[in-house]
Structures are given as structure tokens and as C-alpha cells.
């Protein structure tokens, strides 16, 4: 999510240059041949697959024989499938807990590391470094660290006479363990967005608040938080999109037994994949993809609405 995230951030912060690049018909015609490859790419890789997906969701299709129209049967079978609802519950859980935990930790570290200083630079780098570790190697390393009997973490807890856990092998802690791995890699990036936003809060506001006798909490509540609104909102949306599509971390943690232990990490995308490529139920998988698309569209619309209302810095 990092690259797209940053790209979008930059685009937003570009100063407006309205008027200069106004498209003229001649320019459009001249640009068209150059755009063709990309337009064709969008058609081949986005528009056509999307349309086919929607169509397949109303068919019984296994990749090998032509799809058969079945109407709403795929959707009906999903709504009667306990594993589908389990995957929805697992995903909602990780969206809520992961979203809140990521923002609290990212904002917390940003607030702590906002002031300049050598130690601060060190901690900022230390927290950000995990973001450069590739997801697959990160998860594989953590699977070893979290081994219940011989893992580093339980060994450490044991030396401190603290209780140890089954982590990824215990259905009651597997989701939290997975989240721990993800946040280890993601908090640095979230922190960075908040740090950037904190730097944009004018010092005058804090000075004025200090003169008025505002305490630390009041300053945070009345100045910092309202000024961070756009970034906060942005992080919420990114978290919802990221966690609702959660796939690779859970896949790498249990490649041969998706969703293990006991389906506790069977997230929506994982079950979609399982329907498509393990059970050959492409129609049912397409129906799941369409439902996810609807959900994402609603989340996007909610973001736009909230952004219109709260997206500007309240000051």
C-alpha cells in the first residue's frame, strides 16, 4: 500500500495550476495515439475483467467448461454458507482492531517523535525500517519467532516468568499474532504520514494555546487532533481497504492449510481464493469479489462524504 499511498498524498499536496494545462481539442487528438496502449491496458486488465467478473458471478463456472447462467444461486449459496460468514467475521474483526491499533500506534509514535533530536531520528528510522522488509520474508521470520515451544518470543516471556502463548498456532490468538506481524511492518508508514501532518500545524496555535493556559490534553484535543483530521481520515480509509483485502500475510503463514488454525485466519480474500482455485467455483468466487467491490465502493463513497465534511483542517 505504500507506493500508491504516497503517490496519492503527493498528488493532493500539489499546488493548483488551474488554467495552464487546459486541454485543447488539437492536443487531445495528438495525445490519443500515445494514450492508446494505456487505454488498451486499462480495458484489458481492468474494465473487461471487471465486467466478466460481474457476469460470472451469475453463472456456474469452473474455468474449463463454458459458464452456465444460474441467476442469484451463487449469492444464495454464499449467504447459506457458514464458512463465508466466518470469513466475513474474521475480516470485520481485523478491519476494526487492525485499523484502530494501527492509527493509535502510528499517531502515538508520531507524537512522541515529533520533536527534533538525535535520539528521535534514531527511533524514527528504527520504527520505519521494518516497512522495507518484503512481506513474505517478514511473515516467515515471524512464524519462527512465534513458535509456541521453541520461538524467541515465548522463550523471552518464559525467562521473565510471564505467561506464554500459542500465537499463530492457537485459534484464539492467531488473528492478533498476524496483526502484530502486520503492524510491526506498517506502523512506521502510518507514523510518517502523521509526522508530516504534525509538521504542518503552525506553531502560533500552540503558542496562543499556551498563553491561554491550555494543558497538554486540551492542546492535543483542541488543536493537534482537529489539524490532523485529513490524515486521520485518510489512514482510516487505507486501513479499511487494506484489511478488507487481507491476503498475503495469512497465506504465507499457512500456505498448505489456508486459514489455519481452525479457520481463525480465513479472511474474505483467502476464502475467495479457495473457492476459485481450490474448489474451482469461479462463479461463487466472482460473487464474493462483487460483494467486496460493493463494500469497497461504499467505503470509498463514505470517505468522499466524510472528506467533504471533515477533510479540511478544522481551524
Amino acid at each position: 500500500m505504500a507506493s500508491s499511498t504516497w503517490g496519492r498524498q503527493m498528488a493532493h499536496s500539489q499546488p493548483g495550476r488551474r488554467g495552464q494545462g487546459r486541454a485543447r481539442p488539437k492536443g487531445t487528438m495528438r495525445a490519443l495515439p500515445f494514450l492508446t496502449p494505456w487505454l488498451a491496458g486499462v480495458a484489458c486488465l481492468v474494465a473487461i475483467p471487471l465486467g466478466l467478473s460481474v457476469y460470472w458471478s451469475f453463472t456456474s463456472y469452473n474455468l474449463l467448461t463454458p459458464p452456465q447462467w444460474v441467476g442469484l444461486a451463487n449469492y444464495e449459496s454464499l449467504f447459506h454458507d457458514p464458512v463465508f460468514w466466518l470469513s466475513v467475521r474474521n475480516t470485520v474483526y481485523i478491519v476494526i482492531i487492525g485499523g484502530i491499533a494501527g492509527i493509535v500506534m502510528g499517531l502515538g509514535t508520531a507524537l512522541l517523535l515529533h520533536k527534533p533530536g538525535k535520539a528521535v531520528t534514531f527511533y524514527r528510522s528504527a520504527i520505519f525500517i521494518p516497512a522495507v522488509v518484503p512481506v513474505v520474508s517478514m511473515v516467515i521470520a515471524w512464524v519462527w519467532i512465534l513458535n509456541p515451544d521453541y520461538g524467541l518470543l515465548n522463550g523471552f516471556l518464559h525467562t521473565l516468568h510471564l505467561p506464554t502463548f500459542g500465537w499463530l498456532d492457537d485459534p484464539s490468538t492467531a488473528k492478533i499474532s498476524l496483526l502484530m506481524i502486520i503492524l510491526w511492518g506498517a506502523v512506521g508508514q502510518i507514523m510518517l504520514t502523521f509526522l508530516a501532518a504534525l509538521n504542518e500545524v503552525p506553531q502560533d496555535y500552540y503558542d496562543a494555546a499556551a498563553v491561554d493556559g491550555a494543558g497538554a490534553w486540551q492542546t492535543f484535543r483542541r488543536i493537534t487532533l482537529p489539524m490532523l483530521r485529513p490524515v486521520l481520515l485518510y489512514n482510516v480509509v487505507i486501513a479499511v481497504v487494506f484489511y478488507s483485502q487481507m491476503f498475503e500475510q495469512a497465506f504465507v503463514a499457512n500456505p498448505t492449510d489456508l486459514g489455519a488454525p481452525v479457520n481463525s485466519t480465513l479472511f474474505y480474500s483467502l476464502y475467495l481464493y479457495q473457492n476459485a482455485f481450490t474448489y474451482l467455483q469461479m462463479g461463487r468466487a466472482a460473487a464474493m469479489a462483487c460483494l467486496l467491490l460493493v463494500f469497497s465502493a461504499l467505503a470509498g463513497a463514505a470517505y468522499l462524504a466524510l472528506n467533504r465534511r471533515y477533510g479540511h483542517k478544522a481551524a
Binding site: P33, T36, H80, D149, T278, Y279
Partner: protein
């Protein structure tokens, strides 16, 4: 001097051409310009001594048929095979490690039905062990030729038995449960350092069947009713089997057993729980004997094999096992189906090859009559041969939903073992599946 307009047009053309070139695919070259037919085979034996055995069989075939050249590649990912078939560029032959996907693939048209090839080449199917043909037959059509069968039994570590003061392997399920208790060493904090038996090991994680499948048969249950064409997960005997499994696991704690397994090495290596001498009994197949011989030779003489014990009330079910084979299939759209069939026919009907291959990989010959081989003298292996020919062996139903049924069956099993659902609730969650 080139004009701007021309330059732009040229640029646009070039970029479009590059894109189109990148999108197009070049036809696969299975060239036979020299008169030699190139066959590709994707096999699921993997690497090591099993791949070497297959390669030597291929070499033998190529010597007999100089106009055929076969390239084998290990491809264990079923999704990859399926995408190759769906993409219209499949290998000529696929050696599947189990028949689990066969029902789904056959009913969905991914495989070439072999009936016409069988009759055209006058292949006598009665030379195969009858139970070996069941897993490769879907709706009365043969979709694969069987190669190297396998069944399971109870493997036990005599040294650990002696140390626990047990002189005989268990003959009833109740006795197995009691023996397992004596063979388990568990610390007060729940940590297990030695386990008598783990009813859910090795499961689908290790590429093996869901253990609940044979337990259902052990209790006299059925998973599919062919006359009514209905799945029967909630057959009372199946519920009884899962109840036994759940009660067994509860004695030690499902999580403690999971931790014990997670802390052991990979299956079929010297550090796997059974080979490392930490697990006293395992419900596994003849290949385990070969891996023990290769990884921990000193353990070989301490391993005994008996039929898996049945509940005292159902003694006739002792020795219950699934039977399966390595189906040799020809994907739909294969470039050389006839040559591919000729090869798999030879591979699966050459009696001498069946003997030597079985001897090398410790699987059971798929043919009724084969020359004797060294491994038959091993009493453990002999048990599997005898039991494979008995009526204690069962076949998982070959249906479009076979694979999904088995995967979800194991998920249901795990949810009961971890007390997330009662055994009957867990199995009832499968009733929305239809064959």
C-alpha cells in the same frame, strides 16, 4: 528531416506495437521435426528417491521407444496444473499424488476420458487391484490409470511401548486410547514432550487425507450415499467418530497437541514427531517406512505395523483404511494424447516395473500379479499389501465436490477438536454442500 507529426505517429505506433507484442503469446514448441515426439509430464512424486525412481522408469521407456522423449517436472501445486489446462497448454501427462481432485476435475471436463483409449488398445483393466480402479473411476468412466497404491495402518514405536511397560500394540480403540495415555509425557503446564497418539496427525497440512474420513468408516459410517446421491456427513457413526477424536484430544488439550506438532520438524524428515521418537503411534502409510529407513535407519527395527484398531463394539472394522493411488491422467487439450496413453499404459501394466517401483518408494503395486520384491519380506510392509487387498479399505467418493467436501470436513473436525462446536454441530455445518 522527419516532421513532428510523423515523429509522433511513429512513436505512437511503436508503443502500440510493443504493447501488443507483450500481450501475445508464442505457441508452445513441442516440435517433432526429427521424428521424436516430445512428451511433457508433470509429476507429484516431488524430488529425492521417488523422482529418481520415476526418471529411471522413463529412461527405460525411452530405450524401448526411441521415438518418444519424456521430460518430467515436479509440479505439486494443483492450481498450476489447472491453470495450464484452462489456458489450453497443458502437459501431456500428469501424475497426481492422490485422487482427491480427480472427481472435480473429471466432472468439470479438465481430463481426457480414457474409456475409448482403453478399449482401442485392448487394455485389460482386470489386471489392476480392483480397489485401485475405484479412485480413478468417475460416473462409470475411467479418467486415469492407477499407479502405486497406498493404504494406512497403525505404525507404532516398540521402544517407546517397552519403556512404558506395554508389550502388545492395541487391538481395540479403547485400548489405543489407554495406551496413548501411558505413552504421553506432559508437564503440569501442559507442555507435551512425548505423545502417545495424535488423531489429527498427519492431516491435509502434510498432503494426507483428513483423518476423520477413515475414523468415520472405522465406526461404521459412510460419507456419501450413492443410491440417494446425498452427502452424509451427519451419519451417527461419523458423529461418534468425531466425538471419540474430540474426547481423545481433550485429555491433553487441543492447543498443547498443536504446540507439540508445531514444535516438531517437517513431516517425513528425521525431526518429524514419529521419526524423532516423540510420537509413539501414527496412523500412516507404507511410505513412512521408506522414509524412516532413509532418515533414521536405526529406528527401522523398532517400528511395528498393525491394522488400525476399531471400537470394541465393531471388531470387524479393525484395519480400516482409505485406499488411493497415483492417478496417471491425460489433461484435456494435451498435444499427444495417444502417445501419452501408450506411456501410462506401459507404466501401469509392466509387472516388473511395478515390483521394482514399489520396492523403491514403498507403495503397493497396482497390479494383482507382480514378481516378488525385497520389501515384501518386511512384515510391516507386508501388512499394507495384505490389508490393501482386504475389504477394510474404502474409497473417498469421487464427485464434483470431493475436494471441497474433504477440506471442509477437516475444518469441521478442527472446530470440534478446538471446542468451537460440538461434533454434531460441526458436521451439520457441511449439510449445505451438495454433490
Amino acid at each position: 528531416m522527419i516532421s513532428t507529426r510523423r515523429f509522433l505517429a511513429l512513436g505512437a505506433l511503436t508503443s502500440t506495437a510493443i504493447m501488443l507484442a507483450a500481450c501475445s503469446s508464442s505457441p508452445a514448441s513441442n516440435g517433432n521435426s526429427s521424428g521424436v515426439v516430445q512428451l511433457t509430464m508433470w509429476q507429484q512424486w516431488g524430488g529425492g528417491h521417488e523422482e529418481a525412481a520415476l526418471q529411471s522408469a522413463i529412461n527405460q521407456y525411452e530405450r524401448l521407444h526411441p521415438n518418444i522423449h519424456i521430460t518430467q517436472t515436479p509440479v505439486t501445486n494443483d492450481a498450476k496444473i489447472l491453470s495450464a489446462i484452462a489456458g489450453g497448454d497443458p502437459p501431456d501427462i500428469v501424475d497426481l499424488g492422490t485422487s482427491l481432485e480427480l472427481g472435480a476435475w473429471a466432472t468439470q471436463g479438465a481430463l481426457t476420458p480414457l474409456n475409448s483409449y482403453v478399449s482401442a488398445s485392448k487394455l485389460d483393466l482386470s489386471q489392476y487391484v480392483p480397489d485401485a480402479l475405484k479412485p480413478v473411476t468417475v460416473n462409470g468412466h475411467v479418467y486415469a490409470l492407477p499407479f502405486m497404491d497406498f493404504t494406512t495402518g497403525l505404525l507404532y514405536n516398540k521402544k517407546l511401548f517397552a519403556a512404558a511397560g506395554i508389550s502388545q500394540p492395541p487391538t481395540t480403540l479403547e485400548q489405543l486410547t489407554a495406551d496413548a495415555k501411558k505413552l504421553t509425557i506432559q508437564a503440569p503446564n501442559g507442555k507435551i514432550t512425548q505423545l502417545g497418539f495424535d488423531p489429527s496427525w498427519p492431516g491435509p497440512d502434510q498432503g494426507q487425507v483428513c483423518p476423520l474420513e477413515p475414523y468415520g468408516w472405522l465406526f461404521g459410517g459412510q460419507w456419501y450415499n450413492s443410491s440417494s446421491d446425498k452427502l452424509t456427513p451427519t451419519d451417527p457413526a461419523n458423529v461418534a467418530a468425531l466425538t471419540w477424536e474430540t474426547d481423545f484430544v481433550k485429555q491433553y488439550g487441543a492447543q498443547n497437541i498443536a504446540n507439540f506438532i508445531a514444535s516438531s520438524g517437517a513431516y517425513l524428515t528425521a525431526t518429524d514427531p514419529f521419526e524423532s521418537g516423540k510420537l509413539a503411534m501414527v496412523y500412516d502409510g507404507p511410505w513412512a517406512l521408506a522414509y524412516i529407513q532413509a532418515n533414521v535407519p536405526s529406528l527401522t527395527s523398532s517400528i511395528g505395523v498393525v491394522g488400525f484398531p476399531a471400537p470394541a463394539a465393531d471388531p470387524q472394522n479393525t484395519g480400516t483404511s482409505f485406499i488411493d493411488t497415483n492417478p496417471q491422467v491425460i489433461p484435456r487439450g494435451a498435444a499427444h494424447p495417444q502417445q501419452a496413453f501408450d506411456f501410462i499404459k506401459w507404466l501401469t501394466t509392466d509387472a516388473q516395473l511395478a515390483s521394482s517401483f514399489a520396492n523403491l518408494v514403498a507403495n503397493l503395486p497396482q497390479l494383482k500379479n507382480v514378481p516378488s520384491f525385497a520389501l515384501q519380506k518386511n512384515p510391516g510392509f507386508d501388512f499394507f499389501i495384505q490389508n490393501g487387498a482386504s475389504d477394510h479399505v474404502h474409497v473417498w467418493p469421487q464427485l464434483a465436490v470431493s475436494s471441497e467436501y474433504q477440506t471442509k470436513l477437516c475444518q469441521a473436525q478442527d472446530s470440534a477438536l478446538f471446542s468451537q462446536a460440538s461434533p454434531s454441530q460441526a458436521l451439520a455445518s457441511l449439510t449445505n454442500l451438495t454433490p
